[in-house]
């Protein structure tokens, strides 16, 4: 059944990955379109009107796109891959991606650049003329002039090829396609390399239509920091900014979690771990996705009931093929009386769970419409915060929810009406019939608001109509009276009604998933496993291993009670424990003495040998080995301050 399981797991995994891929593609669409526009503009101006006076007088700068991508460097790879793909499809086959670690000097940069460009030339060409391009890299002179002659030759070749069969592929590019050089991590390049490259290429911009793209993680100020004015004046820099990674995350959560498309769900704690790693540590959307994928793997690996985690249509089939053991598992979770009914009952429960989730998402979105516009956002501004709050426990029992309702009762009419309209839209978007009544009710509220408005207009008109002083005074007095007695106006009454209705919806539909039967099938909730995998603490782990070897080795003999040092522990553990008691400088002789005492403690019978001053050679050797292992691990280092002493490098519990 393992194979069976892996198949099922793959199905879910594949679906999610497909969806993610689509999201990623759509996300940077706008940015990439802008960039492509810039690139196609960049050199065409010069090609079209070279004769004009301004063009002759103007210094020909190198078109440069400063691409600000944010500090989530791990995500950049994907963006650049997408970018170079799009460029190669739409603009030019000649795209080179340079990384700072490959380019410590201008020579390496040129080598890398030419290698990439000339290779992409081979890709474009058919295989037959491979031999003429196969010049070994060492023999090509890595200079701009050889790059130019290469460019001229490929240009000539494509020109002559255009009428032939290759028309389709090359007609997407223009007559003389630009050469795009992408600097992936601008911050890490050295000033000298960049300056030299820009100065050289600016001298040949007429022969080689170069376009630069600077990948910037911090801020575009870095350009001014890296390049002096004499060099930056050779560039025509335009700024492009990608979507912020937080927005990116919101889209992914929206499309991946707040949907009933996928059978697999994550619980509150797990989601919190993933979000915390994102916000606290790396801002990396890629890592978030990897974490999510890990959740899927863990769920199918560790939860026996995950066989039932599938699309709704397959549930019945899966439930029927449940083995006896699996049924037992379900029975353990749920008090279900007899075996025959169990399978049917399970199917029913799973269907309920699915419906519950569908409804949950819709009402969550409605609630978010309200909470996201309250002052100070007591339930969070983002829908992910609200989602976590609702998953965690009954949201209507929390203080934040209470204060949200308080604030909602003070909303003004226009806001309230637009919110209700939004809610109606959300509810109408669902395919199910569950919310037909609800949306009817909301629409009813809306018409009531409309009526109120009409009435107030009417009353104002009436007020204006009654020109005689007596009547006017009377009505004004009435108005005043009604305010003083704190009698609620019709609007206020209606507002209360609306808020109460929303509250009832929340209580009905936003029940935490943990309260539902069989939630274990689709919800992954073991956050500790995830934390262990994703937020590793090497120092703590090392300390635990050395201080308490039983934790990892599971050997009963090592189980120490109350901080004592067992002589059965590995040598390095003994040495480590002894060194914890020392100060900054450790006397090696004392340490050896203590070590030998601990080790010898077991061999009490032949104590005569131990009584002699001389330490046993074997023990000495073992000690030396333990010490050098500790040095390798970075706990101690040799010190020059005192002879026969080593310096301790770590402090505290870990």
């Amino acid at each position: 059944s393992h194979l069976d399981l892996s198949e099922k797991y793959l199905e879910v995994f594949y679906e999610c990955s497909l969806c993610l891929q689509k999201i990623q593609e759509d996300l940077n669409k706008q940015l990439l379109e802008n960039l492509v526009g810039f690139l196609s503009r960049s050199h065409s101006d010069f090609q079209e009107k070279t004769t004009e006076w301004t063009c002759r007088m103007k210094f020909r700068e190198i078109p440069t796109a400063a691409l600000v991508l944010g500090v989530n460097v791990t995500d950049h790879d994907l963006t650049f891959r997408g970018l170079s793909g799009i460029l190669q499809d739409n603009i030019t086959p000649y795209v080179a991606l340079l990384e700072a670690k490959d380019c410590p000097g201008i020579k390496n940069l040129m080598q890398k650049l030419m290698g990439q460009l000339m290779k992409c030339d081979i890709d474009v060409d058919s295989l037959e003329d491979e031999d003429c391009v196969q010049v070994s890299q060492n023999r090509i002179r890595c200079s701009m002039s050889s790059l130019i002659s290469w460019y001229e030759s490929v240009k000539k070749k494509t020109d002559s090829e255009t009428p032939s069969k290759k028309r389709n592929s090359s007609s997407r590019h223009w007559q003389s396609p630009p050469v795009v050089v992408i600097f992936k991590d601008m911050e890490s390049f050295t000033t000298k390399v960049l300056q030299d490259f820009i100065v050289i290429s600016s001298q040949h911009i007429h022969e080689l239509p170069l376009v630069l793209i600077f990948g910037i993680a911090t801020s575009p100020m870095i350009i001014h920091r890296l390049l002096p004015h004499s060099v930056s004046s050779l560039l025509c820099i335009e700024l492009f900014q990608s979507l912020s990674c937080k927005e990116h995350l919101s889209t992914i959560i929206d499309k991946l979690l707040l949907t009933s498309q996928f059978p697999f769900k994550v619980g509150e704690k797990v989601l919190q771990v993933l979000i915390n790693i994102f916000l606290y540590h790396d801002f990396s959307v890629q890592n978030f996705i990897k974490g999510f994928q890990l959740c899927i793997v863990e769920h199918f690996y560790s939860q026996p009931l995950s066989v039932l985690c599938c699309q709704l249509v397959d549930t019945k089939k899966r439930a029927c093929s449940l083995s006896h053991d699996q049924c037992e598992n379900i029975r353990k979770l749920q008090v279900l009386s007899w075996l025959k009914r169990l399978k049917e009952e399970t199917v029913k429960l799973l269907e309920d769970l699915h419906v519950y989730h569908e409804n949950y998402v819709l009402i969550l979105r409605c609630l978010h419409v309200f909470t996201s516009s309250l002052p100070k956002y007591p339930l969070g501004k983002q829908i992910r915060e609200l989602h976590c709050a609702c998953l965690e426990n009954r949201v209507w029992e929390t203080e934040e929810y209470e204060s949200s309702l308080q604030l909602a009762r003070m909303l003004n009419k226009t806001d309230l009406v637009t919110m209700l309209q939004q809610c109606v839209e959300i509810l109408m978007s669902s395919s199910g019939k569950e919310f037909d009544k609800t949306s009817e009710k909301l629409k009813e509220f809306l018409t009531q608001f409309q009526n109120l408005e009409d009435m107030s207009v009417l009353s104002q008109k009436e007020l204006q109509k009654k020109t005689d002083l007596y009547h006017l005074q009377k009505t004004l007095l009435e108005l005043k009276e009604s305010r003083r007695s704190k009698k609620l106006t019709k609007f206020e009454m209606l507002r209360f009604e609306v808020v109460d209705y929303i509250d009832s919806l929340v209580r009905k539909y936003l029940i935490p998933a943990d309260d539902r039967t069989l939630h274990e099938v689709v919800y992954f909730n073991t956050a500790s496993v995830l934390r262990e995998h994703l937020n590793a603490a090497p120092r703590t782990a090392l300390h635990t291993a050395l201080n308490n070897p039983h934790w990892y080795l599971k050997n009963q003999a090592l189980k120490c009670d109350g901080g004592g040092i067992s002589n059965k522990a590995p040598d390095i553990c003994i040495a480590y424990k002894l060194h914890l008691e020392c100060g900054r400088l450790i006397n090696l002789v004392d340490w050896l003495e203590a070590f030998s005492t601990v080790v010898m403690a077991a061999e009490e019978p032949n104590a005569d040998a131990a009584s002699s001053d001389q330490v046993d050679d074997t023990i000495h050797a073992r000690f030396i080995r333990a010490i050098s292992e500790l040095e390798l691990l970075g706990f101690i280092k040799p010190s020059k301050q005192k002879t026969d002493h080593v310096a301790r490098l770590t402090w505290g519990g870990c």
Binding site: S232, L279, Y280, N535
Partner: protein, 402 residues
């Protein structure tokens, strides 16, 4: 120009050193001179040919095409010794013996970066090859900065002075657009120089700026609001525009194409934010604290750590608390390096909740180094207690801490 003797078969001075500020016409004069007098020459830019091998090979390749033969074949030249031999061969085969051959090395300051023998050898190439050759070095810096310790042949030095404002005016006016008269353009150049001469004397840049803004200058004339003589009106129109250009397009805050588009659409330059306007950097929660901790570690002396970051730090002796040298602002002295342990200790004390020393925290330090917000001091072993410096400014850290 009398140095370039008309008697071509005479041996000329072995090496000439020409220096002067950026765009004072060194390269242009040399090129025009050599081509109008039809002197055999090789012109090489040393920045472009960044290693000695590339440079020597390039000279030999160019030499092949010197006397008109188009066919060039790849040359292999690994050392200066080879170069001298191949050079002699090339001169003989190209039949250039009977006149002086000129080798011009532009951006010659780059030669100092190459092997130590390259510069002295070029200076006395005539003697080494025993041919009639003169090497001309063009540079922006003075000869004194070239002279090797071991001494060398002293070249003949020529200084190209900067263009005065009058010169610039004359040169720029020469290229007036065909649709407008020279006088009209000269008036424009006058205004342009009035604004830009204080900050920029680079001829190339000035010409670029002149071309960029000329359309705006002509606007009133095109619309018929003023005639070409109406200098005052034209000045009123263009002067604020040029001042804006100085703050934006001249500094490359916005690109020249964006500037032109703005001009074309008649928009205000204020709409477009320059590069410097985007200073905000969004960082993950712990990265922010790490950066702040690093900043504190870099600018606070170690002695004060106890006072600032411990709850029970004991009494502070008020007298002589500040040592004399510490009275100068630490910000003037720049950031000081600090060990990793100190950074983490400060981090633990400035973050409210408990921070576990996870791998993610350590990798964030590395990320900050790659982002150039921190820099590693001394490339020593990671195990040996790495030391860092914080490289961001006070303004930046204020924005982060907010």
């Amino acid at each position: 120009s009398q140095h370039f003797s008309n008697l071509r078969q005479h041996f000329s001075f072995p090496s000439i050193f020409i220096y002067g500020h950026t765009s004072s016409g060194k390269t242009y004069v040399m090129q025009t001179l050599l081509s109008t007098l039809q002197l055999p020459h090789v012109f090489v830019n040393c920045v472009e040919y960044f290693t000695s091998r590339l440079l020597l090979e390039e000279i030999l390749i160019k030499l092949q095409s010197c006397s008109g033969t188009e066919q060039t074949s790849p040359v292999r030249c690994d050392s200066l010794n080879d170069f001298v031999r191949l050079f002699k061969q090339a001169v003989a085969s190209q039949e250039l013996q009977d006149q002086t051959l000129y080798i011009v090395l532009d951006r010659a300051e780059q030669l100092r970066e190459m092997e130590a023998n390259i510069l002295p050898a070029f200076l006395r190439l005539q003697e080494l090859t025993d041919t009639n050759v003169t090497v001309v070095l063009l540079s922006e810096i003075v000869w004194e900065l070239f002279r090797p310790n071991t001494g060398c042949f002293e070249p003949f030095t020529i200084y190209f002075p900067d263009y005065s404002i009058g010169h610039l005016q004359k040169i720029l006016t020469q290229n007036h657009p065909p649709e407008y008269s020279a006088d009209f353009y000269a008036a424009y150049i006058n205004i342009l120089l009035g604004v830009f001469y204080m900050v920029c004397r680079d001829l190339k840049e000035l010409r670029h700026l002149a071309a960029l803004n000329f359309a705006k200058y002509c606007e009133p004339v095109v619309r018929g609001e003023a005639n070409e003589r109406d200098t005052r009106k034209l000045w009123k129109n263009i002067e604020p525009h040029l001042k804006k250009a100085m703050q934006t397009v001249y500094l490359r805050e916005i690109s020249s194409s964006q500037w032109e588009r703005l001009q074309h659409d008649g928009g205000e330059p204020g709409q477009l934010k320059g590069l410097s306007a985007h200073t905000h950097v969004e960082l993950p929660y712990y990265s922010k604290f790490l950066l702040i901790a690093a900043y504190l570690a870099s600018y606070n002396p170690v002695r004060t750590d106890k006072r600032f970051f411990l709850k029970h730090h004991g009494k502070i002796r008020k007298t002589n608390f500040m040592k004399k040298h510490e009275k100068t602002s630490n910000h003037l002295l720049g950031p000081k390096p600090f060990p990793l342990d100190r950074l983490l200790a400060i981090l633990y004390s400035i973050v409210d909740e408990r921070v576990a020393p996870t791998a993610n925290i350590f990798s964030q330090i590395t990320s900050l180094v790659t982002l150039q917000l921190l820099s590693m001091v001394g490339q020593n072993d990671q195990l040996d207690g790495p030391r860092y410096k914080c490289t961001v400014s006070l303004d930046f850290i204020r924005a982060v801490a907010r």
